[in-house]
Amino acid sequence: MNKLLVIAAAVSVLGTTPLVGQASPEDDLKAFQGYFLKRFPNVPLDEYANGVYALDAASREQWEAIEEFPPYEIAIEEGEELFNTPFKNGKTYASCFRNGGIGVKGDYPYYDIDKGRVETLESAINECRTKNGEKPLKYKKGKIASISAYMAYTTRGQKIDIKIPFDQRARDAYEHGKHFFYARRGQLNMACAHCHVDHAGKRIRADILSPALGHPSHFPVYRSKWGGMGTLHRRFGGCNKQVRARPFKAQSPQYRDMEYFLTYMSNGIPWNGPGARK
Protein backbone atom coordinates (compact mmCIF):
# COMPACT_ATOMS: atom_id res chain seq x y z
CA MET A 1 0.00 0.00 0.00
CA ASN A 2 1.09 3.50 -0.65
CA LYS A 3 3.10 4.76 2.30
CA LEU A 4 1.39 8.12 2.31
CA LEU A 5 -1.98 6.53 2.65
CA VAL A 6 -0.74 4.60 5.64
CA ILE A 7 0.26 7.85 7.30
CA ALA A 8 -3.04 9.47 6.51
CA ALA A 9 -4.91 6.52 7.98
CA ALA A 10 -2.76 6.42 11.08
CA VAL A 11 -3.13 10.07 11.84
CA SER A 12 -6.82 10.33 11.30
CA VAL A 13 -7.13 8.39 14.53
CA LEU A 14 -5.27 11.21 16.21
CA GLY A 15 -7.84 13.68 14.94
CA THR A 16 -9.37 13.98 18.36
CA THR A 17 -8.56 17.63 18.83
CA PRO A 18 -11.66 18.88 20.56
CA LEU A 19 -13.68 21.87 19.54
CA VAL A 20 -13.13 24.07 16.63
CA GLY A 21 -16.59 25.26 15.72
CA GLN A 22 -18.73 27.67 17.69
CA ALA A 23 -19.77 25.49 20.59
CA SER A 24 -20.80 27.14 23.84
CA PRO A 25 -18.02 27.73 26.39
CA GLU A 26 -19.68 25.09 28.59
CA ASP A 27 -19.49 22.49 25.80
CA ASP A 28 -15.91 23.49 25.03
CA LEU A 29 -14.95 23.01 28.66
CA LYS A 30 -16.46 19.55 28.81
CA ALA A 31 -14.73 18.47 25.60
CA PHE A 32 -11.38 20.00 26.58
CA GLN A 33 -11.18 18.47 30.03
CA GLY A 34 -12.72 15.22 28.81
CA TYR A 35 -9.97 14.85 26.21
CA PHE A 36 -7.20 15.02 28.82
CA LEU A 37 -8.97 12.93 31.43
CA LYS A 38 -9.54 10.22 28.87
CA ARG A 39 -6.04 10.38 27.48
CA PHE A 40 -4.39 10.26 30.92
CA PRO A 41 -6.83 8.19 32.96
CA ASN A 42 -4.49 8.02 35.98
CA VAL A 43 -4.12 11.76 36.32
CA PRO A 44 -6.90 13.34 38.38
CA LEU A 45 -8.07 16.86 37.50
CA ASP A 46 -6.35 18.52 40.51
CA GLU A 47 -2.97 17.28 39.35
CA TYR A 48 -3.07 19.50 36.27
CA ALA A 49 -2.03 22.37 38.52
CA ASN A 50 1.44 20.82 38.34
CA GLY A 51 1.99 21.15 34.60
CA VAL A 52 4.30 18.62 33.02
CA TYR A 53 5.02 17.06 36.40
CA ALA A 54 1.51 15.71 36.45
CA LEU A 55 2.47 13.47 33.53
CA ASP A 56 6.12 12.54 34.03
CA ALA A 57 7.27 10.71 37.12
CA ALA A 58 11.00 11.12 36.51
CA SER A 59 11.05 14.90 36.21
CA ARG A 60 8.49 15.11 38.98
CA GLU A 61 11.01 13.78 41.49
CA GLN A 62 13.54 16.47 40.66
CA TRP A 63 10.82 19.06 40.83
CA GLU A 64 9.65 17.89 44.23
CA ALA A 65 13.21 18.23 45.49
CA ILE A 66 13.30 21.80 44.14
CA GLU A 67 9.97 22.59 45.77
CA GLU A 68 11.49 21.88 49.19
CA PHE A 69 13.47 25.10 48.89
CA PRO A 70 11.30 26.93 46.40
CA PRO A 71 13.23 29.34 44.20
CA TYR A 72 10.19 31.64 44.06
CA GLU A 73 10.17 32.28 47.80
CA ILE A 74 12.22 35.45 47.49
CA ALA A 75 9.73 36.76 44.94
CA ILE A 76 6.82 36.12 47.30
CA GLU A 77 8.62 38.03 50.04
CA GLU A 78 9.51 40.89 47.74
CA GLY A 79 5.96 40.91 46.44
CA GLU A 80 4.50 41.10 49.92
CA GLU A 81 6.73 44.01 50.79
CA LEU A 82 5.87 45.87 47.59
CA PHE A 83 2.22 45.12 48.14
CA ASN A 84 2.30 46.70 51.59
CA THR A 85 4.50 49.68 50.76
CA PRO A 86 2.35 52.82 50.44
CA PHE A 87 2.32 54.81 47.20
CA LYS A 88 3.37 58.48 47.37
CA ASN A 89 -0.25 59.37 48.10
CA GLY A 90 -0.25 57.11 51.17
CA LYS A 91 -2.57 54.43 49.76
CA THR A 92 -1.54 50.84 49.10
CA TYR A 93 -2.49 48.14 46.61
CA ALA A 94 -4.95 46.82 49.16
CA SER A 95 -7.21 49.80 48.43
CA CYS A 96 -7.73 48.66 44.84
CA PHE A 97 -8.85 45.09 45.43
CA ARG A 98 -11.67 43.19 47.05
CA ASN A 99 -10.75 41.81 50.49
CA GLY A 100 -7.68 44.03 50.63
CA GLY A 101 -6.17 42.01 47.80
CA ILE A 102 -5.76 38.82 49.83
CA GLY A 103 -6.82 35.60 48.10
CA VAL A 104 -8.29 37.37 45.08
CA LYS A 105 -6.26 36.07 42.15
CA GLY A 106 -9.26 33.91 41.36
CA ASP A 107 -11.19 37.06 40.37
CA TYR A 108 -9.00 37.25 37.25
CA PRO A 109 -9.16 37.16 34.32
CA TYR A 110 -12.68 38.50 33.89
CA TYR A 111 -14.48 40.40 31.18
CA ASP A 112 -14.85 44.02 32.22
CA ILE A 113 -18.11 45.17 30.67
CA ASP A 114 -17.41 48.88 31.22
CA LYS A 115 -13.92 48.84 29.77
CA GLY A 116 -14.93 46.39 27.06
CA ARG A 117 -11.95 44.12 27.55
CA VAL A 118 -10.49 41.29 29.57
CA GLU A 119 -8.94 42.39 32.84
CA THR A 120 -6.06 40.27 34.18
CA LEU A 121 -4.42 40.37 37.58
CA GLU A 122 -1.37 42.08 36.13
CA SER A 123 -3.38 44.71 34.27
CA ALA A 124 -5.34 45.37 37.48
CA ILE A 125 -2.09 45.83 39.40
CA ASN A 126 -0.93 48.45 36.92
CA GLU A 127 -4.28 50.17 36.91
CA CYS A 128 -4.07 50.41 40.65
CA ARG A 129 -0.73 52.13 40.25
CA THR A 130 -1.77 54.64 37.61
CA LYS A 131 -4.97 55.44 39.48
CA ASN A 132 -2.76 56.35 42.43
CA GLY A 133 -0.34 58.47 40.43
CA GLU A 134 2.39 55.85 40.02
CA LYS A 135 4.01 54.73 36.79
CA PRO A 136 2.93 51.34 35.43
CA LEU A 137 5.36 48.42 35.79
CA LYS A 138 6.73 46.37 32.90
CA TYR A 139 4.58 43.33 32.32
CA LYS A 140 6.84 40.32 31.79
CA LYS A 141 9.11 40.09 34.84
CA GLY A 142 10.50 41.99 37.79
CA LYS A 143 8.30 43.74 40.33
CA ILE A 144 5.00 42.90 38.68
CA ALA A 145 5.88 39.21 38.75
CA SER A 146 6.74 39.47 42.46
CA ILE A 147 3.48 41.22 43.35
CA SER A 148 1.58 38.73 41.23
CA ALA A 149 3.48 35.87 42.94
CA TYR A 150 2.46 37.13 46.37
CA MET A 151 -1.17 37.53 45.33
CA ALA A 152 -1.14 34.07 43.76
CA TYR A 153 0.32 32.65 46.94
CA THR A 154 -2.50 34.01 49.09
CA THR A 155 -4.95 32.38 46.67
CA ARG A 156 -3.45 28.89 46.76
CA GLY A 157 -5.90 26.09 47.24
CA GLN A 158 -8.95 27.93 45.90
CA LYS A 159 -10.44 26.43 42.76
CA ILE A 160 -10.37 28.13 39.41
CA ASP A 161 -13.90 29.28 38.67
CA ILE A 162 -13.93 31.71 35.75
CA LYS A 163 -17.26 32.92 34.42
CA ILE A 164 -17.99 33.85 30.83
CA PRO A 165 -20.97 36.19 31.18
CA PHE A 166 -23.79 36.05 28.69
CA ASP A 167 -22.59 39.16 26.93
CA GLN A 168 -21.75 39.20 23.26
CA ARG A 169 -18.46 41.04 23.74
CA ALA A 170 -17.35 38.68 26.49
CA ARG A 171 -18.21 35.72 24.26
CA ASP A 172 -16.27 37.34 21.44
CA ALA A 173 -13.19 37.79 23.65
CA TYR A 174 -13.45 34.15 24.63
CA GLU A 175 -13.81 33.07 20.99
CA HIS A 176 -10.81 35.17 19.95
CA GLY A 177 -8.72 33.57 22.68
CA LYS A 178 -9.81 30.13 21.63
CA HIS A 179 -9.09 30.84 18.02
CA PHE A 180 -5.62 32.13 18.84
CA PHE A 181 -4.87 28.95 20.74
CA TYR A 182 -5.84 26.68 17.85
CA ALA A 183 -4.42 28.77 15.01
CA ARG A 184 -1.20 27.79 13.26
CA ARG A 185 1.40 30.50 13.22
CA GLY A 186 5.01 31.22 12.44
CA GLN A 187 7.34 29.80 9.87
CA LEU A 188 7.11 26.43 11.62
CA ASN A 189 3.33 26.55 11.22
CA MET A 190 2.32 25.24 14.62
CA ALA A 191 -0.54 26.01 16.96
CA CYS A 192 -0.37 26.02 20.75
CA ALA A 193 -2.76 23.09 20.60
CA HIS A 194 -0.33 21.00 18.56
CA CYS A 195 2.20 20.95 21.37
CA HIS A 196 -0.01 21.27 24.45
CA VAL A 197 -3.09 19.28 23.39
CA ASP A 198 -2.35 16.84 20.55
CA HIS A 199 1.16 15.93 21.71
CA ALA A 200 1.03 16.73 25.44
CA GLY A 201 3.14 14.20 27.34
CA LYS A 202 5.42 13.53 24.38
CA ARG A 203 9.05 14.55 24.16
CA ILE A 204 10.13 17.39 21.93
CA ARG A 205 13.83 16.85 21.95
CA ALA A 206 14.58 16.43 25.67
CA ASP A 207 11.56 18.43 26.91
CA ILE A 208 8.26 16.87 27.79
CA LEU A 209 5.26 18.85 26.62
CA SER A 210 2.90 19.96 29.36
CA PRO A 211 -0.88 19.76 28.98
CA ALA A 212 -2.67 23.04 28.28
CA LEU A 213 -5.21 22.01 30.87
CA GLY A 214 -4.10 23.83 34.02
CA HIS A 215 -1.56 26.06 32.29
CA PRO A 216 -2.60 29.31 34.00
CA SER A 217 -3.03 27.70 37.44
CA HIS A 218 0.53 28.09 38.73
CA PHE A 219 1.74 31.37 37.26
CA PRO A 220 3.84 33.42 37.65
CA VAL A 221 6.68 30.90 37.61
CA TYR A 222 10.31 30.85 38.53
CA ARG A 223 12.04 29.35 35.52
CA SER A 224 15.61 28.12 35.70
CA LYS A 225 16.12 29.02 32.08
CA TRP A 226 15.08 32.61 32.82
CA GLY A 227 17.03 32.68 36.05
CA GLY A 228 14.03 34.40 37.58
CA MET A 229 10.30 34.95 37.59
CA GLY A 230 8.08 35.51 34.61
CA THR A 231 4.40 36.11 34.00
CA LEU A 232 2.09 33.94 31.92
CA HIS A 233 2.32 36.37 29.01
CA ARG A 234 6.10 36.17 29.07
CA ARG A 235 5.73 32.46 28.48
CA PHE A 236 3.14 32.96 25.73
CA GLY A 237 5.62 35.21 23.94
CA GLY A 238 8.40 32.64 24.32
CA CYS A 239 6.25 29.89 22.87
CA ASN A 240 5.28 32.09 19.94
CA LYS A 241 8.93 32.81 19.18
CA GLN A 242 9.72 29.13 19.34
CA VAL A 243 7.76 28.55 16.16
CA ARG A 244 9.33 31.62 14.57
CA ALA A 245 6.22 33.71 14.89
CA ARG A 246 6.24 37.32 15.95
CA PRO A 247 5.28 37.42 19.61
CA PHE A 248 2.58 39.79 20.79
CA LYS A 249 3.11 42.21 23.65
CA ALA A 250 2.42 41.07 27.17
CA GLN A 251 -1.13 42.24 27.98
CA SER A 252 -1.98 42.66 24.30
CA PRO A 253 -5.64 41.93 23.54
CA GLN A 254 -4.52 38.66 21.92
CA TYR A 255 -2.83 37.35 25.05
CA ARG A 256 -5.50 38.63 27.40
CA ASP A 257 -8.17 36.84 25.39
CA MET A 258 -6.11 33.66 25.30
CA GLU A 259 -5.58 33.83 29.06
CA TYR A 260 -9.35 34.20 29.42
CA PHE A 261 -9.97 31.11 27.28
CA LEU A 262 -7.25 28.98 28.89
CA THR A 263 -8.16 29.87 32.44
CA TYR A 264 -11.81 29.10 31.80
CA MET A 265 -10.74 25.71 30.34
CA SER A 266 -8.97 25.06 33.67
CA ASN A 267 -12.03 25.62 35.86
CA GLY A 268 -12.08 23.24 38.81
CA ILE A 269 -8.29 22.98 39.13
CA PRO A 270 -6.72 24.54 42.25
CA TRP A 271 -4.82 27.81 42.01
CA ASN A 272 -1.28 26.80 42.80
CA GLY A 273 0.98 29.76 42.04
CA PRO A 274 3.70 30.72 42.03
CA GLY A 275 5.39 27.72 40.43
CA ALA A 276 8.87 26.45 39.64
CA ARG A 277 9.74 25.14 36.21
CA LYS A 278 12.77 24.09 34.21
Binding site: I7, A8, V11, K202, R203, I204, R205, D207, K241
Partner: protein, 125 residues
Amino acid sequence: MRKSASTTLALAGAMSLVMGGLTAVTQPANAAEGASVIEQGKALAFDRKKGNCLACHEIKGGAMPGNIGPALKNMAESYPDKSELRTVIWDMTKFNPNSIMPPFGKYKVLTEDELDKVVEFIHTL
Protein backbone atom coordinates in the same frame (compact mmCIF):
# COMPACT_ATOMS: atom_id res chain seq x y z
CA MET B 1 12.86 35.91 -2.20
CA ARG B 2 11.44 35.28 1.17
CA LYS B 3 9.17 38.10 2.22
CA SER B 4 9.89 38.20 5.91
CA ALA B 5 13.47 37.07 5.90
CA SER B 6 14.65 39.74 8.30
CA THR B 7 11.95 39.04 10.87
CA THR B 8 12.55 35.37 10.56
CA LEU B 9 16.22 35.80 11.18
CA ALA B 10 15.67 38.13 14.10
CA LEU B 11 13.30 35.68 15.69
CA ALA B 12 15.44 32.69 14.92
CA GLY B 13 18.05 34.30 17.12
CA ALA B 14 15.61 34.51 19.98
CA MET B 15 14.34 30.97 19.77
CA SER B 16 14.71 28.63 22.66
CA LEU B 17 16.42 25.32 22.84
CA VAL B 18 13.44 23.21 21.93
CA MET B 19 12.94 24.16 18.35
CA GLY B 20 16.49 25.30 17.85
CA GLY B 21 18.02 28.16 19.75
CA LEU B 22 21.15 30.19 19.99
CA THR B 23 22.99 28.07 22.41
CA ALA B 24 23.24 24.58 21.17
CA VAL B 25 24.21 24.54 17.54
CA THR B 26 26.79 21.87 17.58
CA GLN B 27 27.77 21.89 13.98
CA PRO B 28 27.18 24.52 11.32
CA ALA B 29 25.20 22.82 8.60
CA ASN B 30 27.62 23.49 5.81
CA ALA B 31 30.69 22.85 7.93
CA ALA B 32 32.69 20.42 5.97
CA GLU B 33 33.48 21.81 2.58
CA GLY B 34 33.45 18.86 0.26
CA ALA B 35 31.53 16.59 2.63
CA SER B 36 29.39 14.14 0.76
CA VAL B 37 25.82 15.12 0.00
CA ILE B 38 24.59 12.56 2.51
CA GLU B 39 26.82 13.94 5.24
CA GLN B 40 25.68 17.46 4.45
CA GLY B 41 22.09 16.27 4.59
CA LYS B 42 22.71 14.72 7.98
CA ALA B 43 24.23 17.92 9.31
CA LEU B 44 21.23 19.88 8.03
CA ALA B 45 18.76 17.40 9.51
CA PHE B 46 20.45 17.56 12.93
CA ASP B 47 21.09 21.32 12.99
CA ARG B 48 18.62 22.89 15.41
CA LYS B 49 18.30 25.97 13.23
CA LYS B 50 17.69 24.00 10.05
CA GLY B 51 15.82 20.68 9.98
CA ASN B 52 15.96 19.99 13.70
CA CYS B 53 14.34 16.68 12.89
CA LEU B 54 15.58 15.23 16.19
CA ALA B 55 13.13 17.47 18.01
CA CYS B 56 10.47 14.96 16.98
CA HIS B 57 12.13 11.90 15.42
CA GLU B 58 14.54 9.25 16.56
CA ILE B 59 17.27 9.07 13.93
CA LYS B 60 20.29 6.80 14.00
CA GLY B 61 23.32 8.77 15.16
CA GLY B 62 21.34 11.56 16.83
CA ALA B 63 21.32 12.14 20.59
CA MET B 64 18.28 12.96 22.75
CA PRO B 65 15.57 12.60 20.14
CA GLY B 66 11.97 13.58 20.80
CA ASN B 67 9.13 11.10 20.20
CA ILE B 68 6.40 13.21 18.64
CA GLY B 69 6.86 11.57 15.26
CA PRO B 70 7.81 7.98 14.35
CA ALA B 71 11.45 6.83 14.37
CA LEU B 72 12.87 7.41 10.89
CA LYS B 73 14.10 4.08 9.64
CA ASN B 74 13.60 1.66 6.74
CA MET B 75 13.08 4.74 4.64
CA ALA B 76 14.22 3.33 1.32
CA GLU B 77 11.80 0.47 1.81
CA SER B 78 8.93 2.75 2.75
CA TYR B 79 9.70 5.26 0.04
CA PRO B 80 11.11 3.44 -2.97
CA ASP B 81 10.29 6.61 -4.82
CA LYS B 82 12.51 9.33 -3.36
CA SER B 83 10.29 12.07 -4.69
CA GLU B 84 7.51 10.81 -2.46
CA LEU B 85 9.78 11.18 0.55
CA ARG B 86 10.62 14.66 -0.61
CA THR B 87 6.94 15.55 -0.84
CA VAL B 88 6.38 14.39 2.73
CA ILE B 89 9.17 16.62 4.02
CA TRP B 90 8.20 19.48 1.74
CA ASP B 91 4.71 19.68 3.26
CA MET B 92 3.33 17.00 5.56
CA THR B 93 0.00 18.81 5.91
CA LYS B 94 -0.87 17.61 2.40
CA PHE B 95 -1.29 14.15 3.89
CA ASN B 96 -2.36 15.00 7.40
CA PRO B 97 -4.01 18.43 7.51
CA ASN B 98 -3.52 18.54 11.29
CA SER B 99 0.14 17.53 11.21
CA ILE B 100 2.48 19.26 13.64
CA MET B 101 5.42 18.67 11.30
CA PRO B 102 6.63 21.96 9.81
CA PRO B 103 6.23 22.28 6.02
CA PHE B 104 9.97 22.52 5.43
CA GLY B 105 9.81 23.25 1.72
CA LYS B 106 6.54 25.11 1.43
CA TYR B 107 7.47 27.55 4.22
CA LYS B 108 11.11 27.73 3.16
CA VAL B 109 12.48 26.48 6.46
CA LEU B 110 14.95 24.71 4.19
CA THR B 111 15.99 25.84 0.72
CA GLU B 112 15.27 23.51 -2.21
CA ASP B 113 18.94 22.56 -2.25
CA GLU B 114 19.02 21.87 1.48
CA LEU B 115 15.86 19.84 1.18
CA ASP B 116 17.40 17.69 -1.56
CA LYS B 117 20.34 16.94 0.71
CA VAL B 118 18.14 16.09 3.67
CA VAL B 119 16.15 13.73 1.44
CA GLU B 120 19.37 12.01 0.36
CA PHE B 121 20.32 11.47 3.99
CA ILE B 122 16.90 10.37 5.23
CA HIS B 123 16.64 7.90 2.36
CA THR B 124 19.73 6.07 3.70
CA LEU B 125 18.08 5.38 7.07
